[in-house]
């Protein structure tokens, strides 16, 4: 390679390396702000700011969703499989909200330890499935459960 070109290439690579380490350090320092939500464990350990509007995220615990038949009030538990917390919300939930699904709620912790949400968003994963396949999977799972149950009864 021509020495002049080699010199220019080295300068460009050096600038890129310096800039990317600077950007990396900035992002590392701002990690708490870049993360979209706090997990229940982070909130329980006091990592999240108190009495401030924050986002909390986790998986909705199966069987924990309680709806008020008269209003849009709903309460449910979310968990990260270490800690769980109760969230209260008055409003319309997204279509994808269901038990066992990830959600992100914006709001603040109240004194009684309940999280009062002003907005609830549903998370979904990159696993897409045809409805028949998911039904078949569910059937297979429940069949397996009945098989184990019948095996236990003998």
């Amino acid at each position: 390679m021509h020495p002049l070109r080699r010199k220019r290439l080295i300068i460009i690579i050096a600038i890129l390396l310096i800039l990317s380490s600077a950007v990396g350090l900035v992002m590392f320092a701002l990690q708490q702000n870049i993360n979209l939500f706090f997990s229940p464990t982070q909130i329980a350990s006091g990592e999240a700011p108190q009495q401030a509007t924050i986002r909390a995220g986790g998986v909705v615990v199966e069987g924990s969703v309680k709806r008020d038949p008269q209003t849009l009030y709903v309460s449910f538990d979310v968990t990260d499989y270490q800690y769980s917390m109760t969230i209260e919300y008055l409003g319309i939930l997204p279509d994808l909200f269901r038990e066992g699904q990830g959600i992100v709620a914006q709001g603040s912790m109240m004194a009684n330890g309940v999280f009062k949400a002003t907005q609830v968003l549903a998370k979904h994963d990159e696993e897409y499935m045809a409805p028949e396949v998911s039904d078949a999977l569910k059937n297979a799972q429940s069949k397996r459960v009945t098989v184990t149950e019948s095996a236990l009864s003998y």
Binding site: R5, R8, L9, I12, I15, L16, L19, S20, V23, M27, Q31, I34, N35, L36, F37, S39, G57, L93, P94, D95, L96, F97, R98, Q101, V104, Q119, V120, L121, A122, K123, H124, D125, E126, E127, Y128, M129, A130, P131, E132, V133, S134, D135
Partner: protein, 248 residues
């Protein structure tokens, strides 16, 4: 290894005649492949078990997002070539591809917002993935603005090459944003190492749509290159010959 082909493509004249041959086949085959992929994906692929039909927007969202990043990667490489080797063709390539990449980034942001409204319940959220793609869109807009703002072509070329190269840092941030931080956006749909987490009748039309987008964009880029080469080389003898022989 011989670099002769590389230097040949670097000359505007041989690139012009090469691209004249390939632009139309690339664009037309891309169009056909894209129509096949989209009709299959939008009408025949099964709906998602949770999101129903609204997940079909993936067949536009994912290809556009991939193209937006690939175009930027190409801009970055062209920027390095333009700064180090100072090939004439590299700044022309940046000028040709930047608007295409900007449109792709815009499509992915808009389709993502529409999908987000139906799936997540919000048009926009400042999570790492969405924000870094917005930054990508602004980088494109900055490159286009700079090209048009500076009167002197040599200076404009150098400045845009520098932005293109520096903006490369954003690409790994986009890619790993869903891994490094917790975000509302889900993980990657396609990876090179793993099988996609969806059945073949869902990802095959998506793959076809992606290939169609790539071919179409290649055709568009070659056409834009031809126009830019004719504009910038209008003083040369071969351009005069070409225009008198074939018209513009």
């Amino acid at each position: 290894m011989s670099w002769a082909w590389f230097h040949r493509l670097g000359s505007p004249k041989s690139f012009f005649f090469w691209s004249k041959r390939w632009a139309r086949p690339a664009f037309l085959s891309g169009l056909i492949i894209l129509i096949v992929g989209l009709v299959w994906g939008l009408a025949f692929a099964p709906p998602d078990y949770q999101q129903g039909d609204s997940f079909r927007i993936i067949y536009i969202h994912v290809p556009a997002a991939m193209l937006a990043q690939t175009c930027y990667f190409a801009l970055g490489v062209a920027g390095i070539v333009s700064l180090v080797w100072q090939m004439k063709i590299a700044p022309m390539f940046i000028r040709a591809v930047a608007p295409i990449g900007a449109v792709m980034a815009f499509i992915s942001l808009v389709t993502g917002a529409i999908w987000g409204k139906t799936a997540w319940g919000t048009w926009w959220v400042w999570d790492a993935r969405l924000t870094s793609v917005l930054v990508l869109f602004f980088l494109y807009m900055g490159i286009i603005a700079l090209q048009n703002a500076l009167e002197e072509t040599a200076l404009a070329d150098k400045a845009t090459a520098v932005i293109s190269v520096v903006g490369l840092i954003n690409l790994p941030i986009i890619k790993y944003s869903v891994v490094w931080w917790n975000t509302l956006h889900q993980g990657a749909t396609f990876t090179l190492t793993e099988k996609p987490a969806m059945p073949v009748e869902m990802w095959l039309p998506l793959l076809i749509a992606v290939i169609g987008f790539y071919c179409m964009v290649m055709g568009l880029a070659l056409w834009r290159m031809q126009t830019i080469i004719l504009l910038r080389e209008h003083r040369t003898q071969w351009v005069k010959q070409e225009v008198t022989d074939h018209g513009v």
